[in-house]
Amino acid sequence: MLKDKYQQEIDELLSRYPVKRSALIPLLYLAQRDEGFVSEGAMKEIAGLLHLTPPQVYETATFYTMINLKPVGKFHLQVCKSLMCALAGSDTVIGWVKTKLGIGPGETTTDGLFTLSAVECLAACGTAPMMQVNDDYYERLTEDTFDRILADLKKDGSCSLKTGPFMWPEPAPAKPGA
């Protein structure tokens, strides 16, 4: 139960909003941080916390590609497939993943290292094609950079080509991708 582990944080999240339901996404993130994905049990618990029905939580959790409903590998490759990236070749990127890692969207490598998801626009259209790996962005992808990213991730768990993370308000490590 999230409540047992994160009571204080939950209270703090709930206190932020005049309308309880607004805490839904922060709570989904909390659950995802805990288990790496959002389980049915967590959705039910969150529904209980917010006086929603489980389908109402499920609705939101399935809308955003940032919420994983299944466990993901150590590195979650999220390749943008929205219009700009599609025009700039996101299909090709997905093809690289397939040939180099043997997985398609929604699949995880057998060693549990990589999961591929095709996601919606991540607001880096100007530097398409792009993908997000965990919380980091990798933009203007080419086959070379892509190979290097994979190799670095396997080796060091990180890659210096990353730009971001941009998702959080904390100061990002400086290196604004171009």
Binding site: E40, G48, H51, L52, T53, P55, Y58, F63, E120
Partner: protein, 888 residues
């Protein structure tokens, strides 16, 4: 608030000038002008969502096309719905939808009544989309509802209906964009109220009923508009049949008092009538067993025995019981048969189980036997007080009116219920309460007294009534002073502040409706509580104000009719007093015959008299006292002693099994007549199929008895009886679209406040006894389930799929205390006996209480104490204290 002076605006639609109330949507204004604008996501019941873009129109001086379902009509607006631009827009929207639509009309149950099919024909829209279509994995959705998401046009009407109207929120759009799919939760099958609303409101064949899957094409079906028999709300249903086969039930939007909404019983319960266990031939007991006989033989047998018993013991050796499920015509004829043909007032109906408490209270205080309000007044109320209603499960459609008042009209909802606010698979009215007092049913009386005390001591008494009836006011003031806040707090767990707050809300209201439900009406002291709630309205000056009133909810579809037809011992047709000489004379003139003088016995009195050997013969029409009364009343023993027990029944019930003669009765699906709903609105019942087997409508059987007894009450058809009813009760059952509620009778109120209130004030204004609950026990309560209505619905295959058996509902804390979880077997026992059932843990059940749905509870009835109301003779057996033990 509705009903203020309505301003209007004038606009042009395709050159037609029309004036509509301010705030009307363009699409509705067009409908009124006779122009149908195509649409998917719009529905008059729902808030505009404007997501499908099908309803685009051109509006003069507005640059882009507008969605007419979300644009409000304004003065001088000029709308065009049939220009080339508009047509092209409609065509493109259709093309987008058809890009993904599977076009599987040949195997789709919606075919022939599908909006997408119709519009496609109208626009001859085709798709240039050559890629593969979107395909969803087909998943099991639920036992009664089928989804085929490839057909979905993503209008979200289903999701919005389930949320906005039902407040159930069981459906959700899953995913995004084209891949949005309507689901419930993960791969779990749907678990909800099963109201069928999503099936009805889906414009295409994406959500359909499994009960009628692949069985029909709309044009093959015959339709009959009639009234549901599963509760007092009186919903209009359209029964669709293929020959003698019941295929489907639905309800037209804007049809009936339910405005097209139904509950699970109405939508999925219709198969009860066609169950193979129906009694289809007359049965006579010969050598101890019931054997088939002809009508002639059966009627002759009844006539001979009746004559013999009458000669030997006189008319008082007879009694009669009728179900509140019968039509007005049957109820009327039944009491006429008992009173004239037999010559006794020993007669009663299922209204005795609780409805009589509410009716007698209204008669005494305000001189009406009906509500002074209607469903419309509930929707337009600004304050609603619900006491002991369990409204979602007992009277679901009245519940929707309450939801509408709160959710759309922002009414203040106050509730006194044995219910905890909690989100569950079915809606919970207390989730919408502004203020909720969670009180055990045995203490509803105390809570009502707390409210009265707060009104009086908070100086909220209406100056008018204070002046007009100072004695009454001071008597009540004196009475509430005798009750200490501390005692109230101990009884109810509610503080004086909370009572004061609720009292203030009631008093502030301008349109206040008080609803009392089965749990209150069937409780011990139910009559007194109704009177006290009427006192509350009187003291706060609301009783006679427009839009205000007291509304006790009827349980059976025609309990109200039973009272109005005089099918209870103490009342004549028109709910006139049997003891009133004028009323007796009037009836005698109409019937051209004198009425029996001896006062009649009510339900329990008749059982007692049968047991004492005074009553020798009982005519039972659709009632089942042996199955419904707790065993300590010993109905079975009493009825076994009878010389003649005649039952008119659909099924061989516990009572019918004891009968000497069983006559196959036609169900409501097979006969014509009228039902009067909880509001007092009479509505037409029409046959959808022919009587099953040799069965006949109850009125025909009664009429045949009278012929064989040589005192014919003959009618050619049910309409002739209605004509007679109208001559006795002038204007009865106008059959219009909505009822005209009576107003409280000022002279009756005067009588009540001067003298009428006096004789039982002391008793009514005393706190009900407090049971000390022992460790290891719970208060067991019999409740109505949303998925059943008495025994009858347990013959419905649809409802049995949702709820096949009995279970005990209890709170998680109690469950933990007894180490029980959902699905565990549990033994309930007290000094009367024991009962084993299965547990279901639900947060909405308050701690210390446990609920048992009453339709499967017959075995458990032996645990219940039965108390008879001294005034109204209503037997109450709704609560019992039981020990709880896990069974293995």
């Amino acid at each position: 608030m509705a009903n203020q002076t309505t301003e209007t605006v004038r606009l042009m639609i395709d050159g037609i000038s029309i004036s509509v109330p301010k705030g009307t949507l363009v699409i509705e204004a067009a409908r009124q002008a006779g122009v149908m604008i195509p649409h998917f996501c719009y529905h008059p019941k729902l808030k505009p969502d404007a997501n499908c873009r099908m309803c685009l129109v051109e509006i003069e001086r507005v640059r882009k096309l507008q969605t007419s379902c979300s644009t409000v009509a304004t003065e001088g607006m000029a709308v065009r719905t049939a220009t080339t631009v508009v047509n092209d827009a409609h065509k493109s929207v259709l093309e987008f939808i058809l890009a993904n639509h599977p076009l599987d009309c040949p195997v789709c149950d919606q075919g022939g009544r599908c909006d997408l099919q119709d519009f496609s024909h109208q626009y001859t829209a085709t798709s240039r989309f050559a890629e593969t279509k979107r395909i969803f994995q087909k998943e099991y959705f639920s036992p009664l509802i089928e989804t085929q998401m490839n057909r979905c046009v993503q209008c979200l009407r289903c999701v919005r209906y389930c949320d906005e109207v039902m407040d159930v929120k069981a459906l959700a759009p899953i995913g995004r964009g084209t891949m949005t799919e309507i689901k419930s939760f993960g791969n779990h099958p749907l678990d909800c109220e099963f109201c069928g609303g999503c099936v009805q409101i889906c414009p295409v064949g994406a959500i359909t009923s499994r009960l009628s899957m692949y069985e029909y094409r709309p044009w093959m079906l015959k339709r009959a508009d009639t009234i549901c028999t599963f509760c007092g709300d009186g919903c209009q249903i359209t029964v669709q049949t293929k020959d003698q086969e019941l295929i489907e039930v639905n309800s037209a939007h804007s049809g009936g008092r339910n405005n097209g909404d139904l509950c699970a019983r109405g939508y999925f319960g219709f198969h009860a009538a066609s169950h193979p266990d129906r009694v289809t031939h007359p049965l006579i007991r010969r050598n101890g067993t019931l054997v088939e006989a002809t009508w002639e033989e059966a009627l002759l047998f009844v006539a001979e025995q009746t004559n013999r018993i009458k000669q030997a013991h006189g008319p008082q050796a007879f009694g009669g019981l009728i179900s509140g499920r019968c039509t007005n015509e049957e109820l009327y004829l039944f009491q006429k048969f008992m009173r004239l043909t037999i010559g006794t007032n020993n007669l009663d109906s299922s209204a005795r189980y609780g409805h009589v408490n509410g009716v007698q209270a209204m008669r005494r205080v305000q001189g009406t036997h009906r509500w002074t309000v209607t469903f419309e007044d509930i929707v337009q109320a600004d304050v609603l007080l619900l006491v002991g209603t369990n409204i979602t499960e007992a009277n679901p459609i009245t519940g929707l009116k309450v939801k509408e008042a709160v959710k759309k009209q922002e009414a203040t909802l106050l509730t006194i219920e044995a219910l905890q606010p909690a989100v569950g698979t079915i809606s919970n009215i207390t989730n919408l309460s502004k203020q909720h007092l969670c009180v055990a049913p045995s203490q509803f009386g105390a809570a009502v007294l707390g409210l009265l005390k707060a009104v009086i001591e908070g100086d909220h008494v209406d100056p008018g009534i204070r002046q007009r009836a100072s004695d009454y006011v001071s008597a009540l003031s004196h009475a509430v002073r005798q009750i200490a806040w501390e005692d109230l707090a101990v009884s109810t767990g509610i503080s004086s502040d909370s009572f004061a707050q609720m009292a203030a809300s009631v008093v502030r209201g301008r349109r206040v409706v008080v609803l009392a439900g089965q749990i209150l009406l069937r409780s011990q002291g139910g009559y007194g509580m109704c009177l006290n709630l009427l006192d509350l309205l009187l003291l706060s000056g609301k009783l006679t104000s427009p839009g205000c009133g007291f509304a006790p909810l009827a349980e059976e579809n025609n309990d109200q009719g039973a009272v109005e037809m005089g099918a209870v011992a103490e009342l004549l047709p028109g709910a006139l007093d049997l003891t009133d000489q004028d009323s007796r004379d009037r009836m005698a003139r109409a019937w051209k015959e004198e009425l029996p003088l001896v006062p009649g016995g009510t339900l329990i009195e008749m059982v007692d008299r049968a047991s004492a050997g005074i009553i020798k013969s009982l005519f039972v029409v659709g009632e089942n006292p042996v199955g419904s009364l707790p065993s300590q009343i010993r109905a079975k023993e009493a009825l076994s002693k009878l010389d003649l027990l005649v039952c008119q029944e659909l099924f061989l019930t516990e009572t019918a099994a004891l009968a000497h003669v069983v006559l196959p009765a036609a169900s409501a699906m097979e006969k014509a007549g009228t039902f009067t709903n909880t509001e007092g609105h009479a509505q037409a019942v029409r046959p959808a199929i022919d009587p099953v087997g040799d069965s006949r409508p109850d009125w025909e059987i009664l009429s045949a008895f009278s012929v064989f007894l040589g005192a014919p009450l003959e009618y050619g058809e049910a309409k002739e009886i209605l004509k007679e009813i109208r001559s006795v009760i002038p204007g009865y059952g106008s059959l219009g679209p909505s009822p005209i509620a009576p107003t409280a009778d000022p002279s009756a109120i005067d009588r009540y406040v001067t003298e009428g209130y006096r004789h039982d004030v002391a008793i009514r204004y005393t706190l009900p006894p407090r049971a000390v609950r022992q460790e290891g026990t719970v208060q067991l309560g019999l409740v109505q389930s949303l998925f059943h209505s008495g025994k009858f619905s347990t013959h419905s295959k649809g409802l049995l799929q949702i709820e096949p058996s009995a279970f005990l509902q209890m709170n998680p804390v109690d469950a933990a205390r007894f180490a029980l979880g959902s699905g565990d077997r549990v033994r309930l026992s007290n000094n009367r006996g024991q009962f084993i059932t299965t547990v279901k843990v639900l947060e909405r059940v308050p701690e210390g209480l446990a609920w048992l749905p009453d339709h499967f509870a017959q075995e458990a009835l032996r645990l219940f104490d039965c108390v008879i109301d001294p005034d109204t003779k209503v037997p109450s057996f709704r609560t019992a204290t039981v020990s709880v033990l896990k069974a293995t």
